[in-house]
Subunit: 425 residues, 2 copies
């Protein structure tokens, strides 16, 4: 599934980029390792943003600075920049980037509860990716293919794909970690939601880490599921955290609706939310219904929802509380989905039911290509890794002229619920 | 296929809408007939543009005037408006719309070579639609389903669909005729390409007529084909033609490339072009290659092209010459495509080849949903008839992670030609 889809969000993409990766075929690692190479914070986009051979990161180029070297107006402000001046090297001044700081911190003391949130989030999503992949492999019986990539300027990710499995037609579980820089325009747009962002800089380092997943099962009785949790942070020239926020969500897309599945899925998410704030579930459930909607189909939801949130920062709760919330949300995925897939994966089905699933997959394609802000952003980004962006698309889909479900059928009931989302718990 | 796709064009959609229809299920005609009903030129959008029960026209609402009654600033300018003042009826002044003029002219003297171009184009596309449908039915052996619709304010169309035929997986041949009004914003944008447009009016009547077609055959050896020819006109308050232009084109999308087919297809179109202007074929072939391109796939053409043109007006050639050109282009479709489909429709093929066709169909979906301006405009138009817009999508499509054709295979050769379009004649 797409790192851009992964990063999709109502507000994030008004202003913000998404993560995409350039995974390698096979599992070999890139030869240039992060933290071993000096980078210039605020340097040009071709260094920070552009594709590099075989294992680059994409998706942020629209936000990179247009300058070509150091952002001079910043120098006087940033003690650490001045401290790291390298005489005789022009453009000579290099401060350690947050990527370098993080790499050093990891080498020196590993990742602990007192590490910067960047490192804790990275460790958390990678650990959960492996846990989820292991559980899904148990369900499917086939192994995921894993592509690991690193990027020269810092960061990297893991793409896990299972295509044509026993249970899953197409399944992707991806993580990515990105260090880059934002230009003035992007900063101005982000300030709308995040006043902590310093408006008086030409450019700014950022960090983004996310896990993102789409599972399309073969059996039309088994629902498609999408999940994404992400953390975003900007750094001042001193390398200190400037603004930060969490976003994410998880939603279910059945072709045949089993009320007990919908209730179980929503209840599991609600329980995770309720531990943190009783308002979260109703608020983020509504946000989810509003976002994953095929407006061009007369306001038809993509699926039966779940939760969706973005831009949760210090205006919402403190960083520890929000991290704990994101952790519990992600933690609720396996107990929310595994019982459903186990119950449905081997159910008998007819050709007619398979065809209906294919039509619903067509709607999934429509949402992702027409409305999903992350996908759209990715497709418009030159050099983006299209195979990662479009991993969210199903293996097969169908469009039939003037298809209408029979009166009183299960198909018709699903459509009516998609037109007017239901409260499940 | 989509009336919006039909109307798609590089420049048209910078400024201009496309035609969509709201076809009825079945073949019944709308009960309100054009020309029997008084309409108010320059009246509000809900009358001119919005959906009406069961048989409305869509797709132009973004361009309608926002006023709610007559556009008063125009009254003093338009003799015919003053002549048709109806005392005591407020808003009282009704001039015959071009829809009414045309309906009257048709009733009184039919359509002849001296009729307005609007009527000649309408007659021409409808005649050719029936001719094409008849030929395709001979090829397929199954009948098209025909939906006829009319719209209250004037105009209408015919939707011909063949789904799951013997030869065609999905085939649509549609015509539509639209009378509507343009607002100041739309007029200003159109003036960029058409200086004849009067800049000093609040709104303006327009007419648009087009034929549009997409055929997706079952057999992977048989290519998909798309065609669209259209005529657009605006009228001054006196009902006289203000600006007018032709647009259109035809292009081929094979999954397996037979050079002889590509040469035959291009040669037939080139011959039609050459009769009118030796520069047309090279110019419009290039335009086609540029427009039907999946930029997000690293600049991969949708197919092997054909021609594409738009905004051909008096700056190009006179109206008669351009109409003759559009006629010859449309006339070249059957001799261009029928020999190809006859040769390929029953060729043996493997499962592997069918799967490759399905992947190419996925690319077709990507182009139409992500890039086609007509489709995009249609999807953004509230109340647009989605089934007509998305008729251009294939019945089935496929997305496979990291699919790469074998070295030296026919699939690989096709891809290399799509990346760098070839001169076929």
């Amino acid at each position: 599934m797409s790192y851009l889809t992964a990063m999709s969000s109502v507000r994030l993409f008004k202003s913000l980029p998404a993560l995409t990766i350039r995974a390698k075929n096979g599992t070999s690692k890139a030869s240039i390792r992060s933290g071993r190479q000096r980078t210039r914070p605020f340097s040009n986009s071709s260094q920070h943003m552009g594709p590099t051979s075989g294992h680059a990161l994409h998706g942020f180029s629209g936000l990179s600075t247009s300058g070509t070297a150091l952002s001079l107006p910043l120098i006087g402000l940033a003690a650490c920049v001045i401290l790291t001046l390298i005489p005789g090297n022009s453009p000579a001044m290099e401060a350690p980037s947050i990527a370098e700081r993080d790499a050093l911190a990891k080498r020196e003391s590993g990742v602990t509860d007192s590490s910067p949130m960047r490192l804790r989030m990275e460790a958390f999503i990678k650990e959960n990716q492996q846990k989820i992949v292991a559980e899904l492999e148990k369900v499917d019986g086939k192994k995921f293919l894993q592509d690991t990539w690193q990027r020269p300027a810092g960061g990297g990710g893991i793409t896990c794909v299972l295509q044509d499995g026993n249970v899953f037609e197409k399944a992707g579980v991806n993580t990515s970690v990105v260090y880059g820089s934002l230009g003035r325009g992007a900063i101005a747009k982000m300030r709308v939601n995040h006043p902590a962002l310093d408006p008086d800089v030409e450019s700014m380092e950022f960090f983004a880490a996310g896990i993102s997943m789409v599972l399309h099962p073969h059996n039309p009785m088994a629902p498609t599921v999408h999940l994404n949790y992400r953390y975003f942070e900007t750094a001042g020239p001193d390398g200190k955290t400037n603004a930060w926020w969490f976003g994410g969500g998880c939603d279910l897309t059945p072709a045949y609706l089993f009320d007990e599945d919908a209730i179980h899925f929503h209840k599991t998410i609600k329980d995770a939310c309720d531990k943190h704030d009783k308002n979260y579930y109703p608020r983020f459930k509504k946000w989810c219904d509003e976002y994953f909607n095929n407006k061009h189909r007369g306001g038809e939801s993509r699926g039966i929802g779940g939760i969706f949130f973005d831009d949760l920062d210090e205006q919402e709760k403190d960083q520890e509380q929000l991290f704990a919330f994101a952790q519990d949300c992600l933690g609720s995925f396996l107990p929310g989905y595994i019982p459903i897939i186990e119950k449905r994966k081997d159910m008998p089905y007819t050709e007619h039911e398979k065809a209906w699933q294919q039509l619903r997959r067509g709607r999934y394609v429509e949402f992702n290509l027409v409305h999903d802000r992350g996908t759209k952003f990715g497709l418009e980004t030159p050099g983006a890794r299209i195979e990662s962006i479009l991993m969210s698309l199903p293996l097969t889909a169908r469009w039939q002229y003037m298809h209408e479900p029979e009166k009183g059928s299960r198909e018709e009931r699903l459509l009516s619920i998609l037109k007017s989302p239901k409260e499940w718990v």
